[in-house]
Symmetry: C2
Subunit: 307 residues, 2 copies
Amino acid sequence: MTIAIAVVGLGKIAHDQHLPAIAASDEFTLVAGASPEGTAEGVPVFKDIDALLASGIAVDAIAMCQPPQVRYVTAAKAIRAGKHVLLEKPPGATLAEVEGLVRFAEEGGTTLFAAWHSRYAPAVEQARAWLAGQQVVSADVIWKEDVRRWHPGQQWIWQPGGLGVFDPGINGLSILTRIMPDFIHLADGEMEIPSNRAAPIAARMSLADTQGAKINAEFDWRQTGPQSWDINVTTTTGTLALSKGGSELVINGVSQPVAAHGEYPALYADFARLIRAGKSDTDRSPLRLVADAFLRSRHVATEPFID
Amino acid sequence: MTIAIAVVGLGKIAHDQHLPAIAASDEFTLVAGASPEGTAEGVPVFKDIDALLASGIAVDAIAMCQPPQVRYVTAAKAIRAGKHVLLEKPPGATLAEVEGLVRFAEEGGTTLFAAWHSRYAPAVEQARAWLAGQQVVSADVIWKEDVRRWHPGQQWIWQPGGLGVFDPGINGLSILTRIMPDFIHLADGEMEIPSNRAAPIAARMSLADTQGAKINAEFDWRQTGPQSWDINVTTTTGTLALSKGGSELVINGVSQPVAAHGEYPALYADFARLIRAGKSDTDRSPLRLVADAFLRSRHVATEPFID
């Protein structure tokens, strides 16, 4: 029997990724949506979670695809109504919100999935397997893209809690925290905040592991031309280059064969596995590193950003 | 047999609180210190943790009293040398640092104590007991003091990771998170940062619990005259006023008898109890709320602060 799922927040990411992945899945059946704006083909769409829950439509699971600033109250209601919940990244606008949702899901015995879609990029698990047990000497994360191209008109990304350049950057951090063989933390950082905005347009992080590896991460939203979503790692035995957001892998200079698959189909397969196993996956380490960056970095004002 | 303890970071808080509390304790014997500057009467003082650990002096436990920005590496070395570790508040400059220390202590089976001294103020446990099981309607945290009076010449408090007004403010949050009967999170916030500094001089937080209580917190470092370290709570059955940093308690308008005791003697008694029970206490919720404030708040530039 398939899992009856509803999608809340019918914006860009829902239409680009969630709805197609659900439609292609043997595990899920889309039964409803909820969103102040937006539609979903072939199912009833309610104006909010309250109307959805009151509709009488049988829903087992709900995917939360709203901007992070408005997700917590809706997710809490869904969990308390006994629904399994998937949180699009970032899983909340704050760490305490996610902590609260984790507690509610534990109390209710439902599945909570803080999903990091970039971890499902095709080459990420191969990179993790090669690095396992190795000692890292240095690593570089380069996550540079053109905000005008990827986030046209999205104002929430510039509001407090919208993360700014860390909205894409947290994808790189979600891969980094997945593949690094040792625990990492922020040692120092700097972020550039446009004088007319509340969130950073660029940031640099100096990270460290427990063995003294130097790990640098650079995020920039002003990159036109070729876009960079790369992680390069040097260990005591060789080098690894994970590029194009985790989809291509070179080890010691040799291109590795990678079985192509979509991130969101793999993510939804994992959500189904968690639900059927009665488990949760609530890793907060990427959001914790971003919160640490806001807490620990120098904040530098930079020139205004005009859409 | 007493616990042999060393103190690392022989600055203001070590001399004002830790050394006197250790001297007055039946449970601990001070055997050494380590600090780039500063002395401790009657025991050898080494320049750093490496020299202390290499000295051959038998040390069971180490209290970390340095500024938070330089605590992690030292604490990690102490834990990995098998020492029980007490962390002065805040327990780290970032959340990931504290997470790392928690992992190392779990791996080594030693005690790690993220100590929040204000939780040991005389009336805090009475306040917690009265609030237990109640529904909170509203609460106000007012934490306003004169930075020039309480932090003369301390430059680290203004650096990234030094927390600014949250250095005292986290004391109020440590009490709030201890006494509130329900889980709380940050909904919205604002912080004022002097144009010549890297940390806030004032902040406001709008917090919420899971039942809809309105919890406001105000922090200001520019308060001359009477100082304010107050938490006022209204529940569906009455009111509670916890004032003077947790040392005085009024319930429904009636002053409550409070057994006077020092915060640090009670804190060290708890550290001894944890060590003897083979347990840790690593609650990060106050630091998590502060990191959330940096992540989620509007940051507003304000006039320069001159010491």
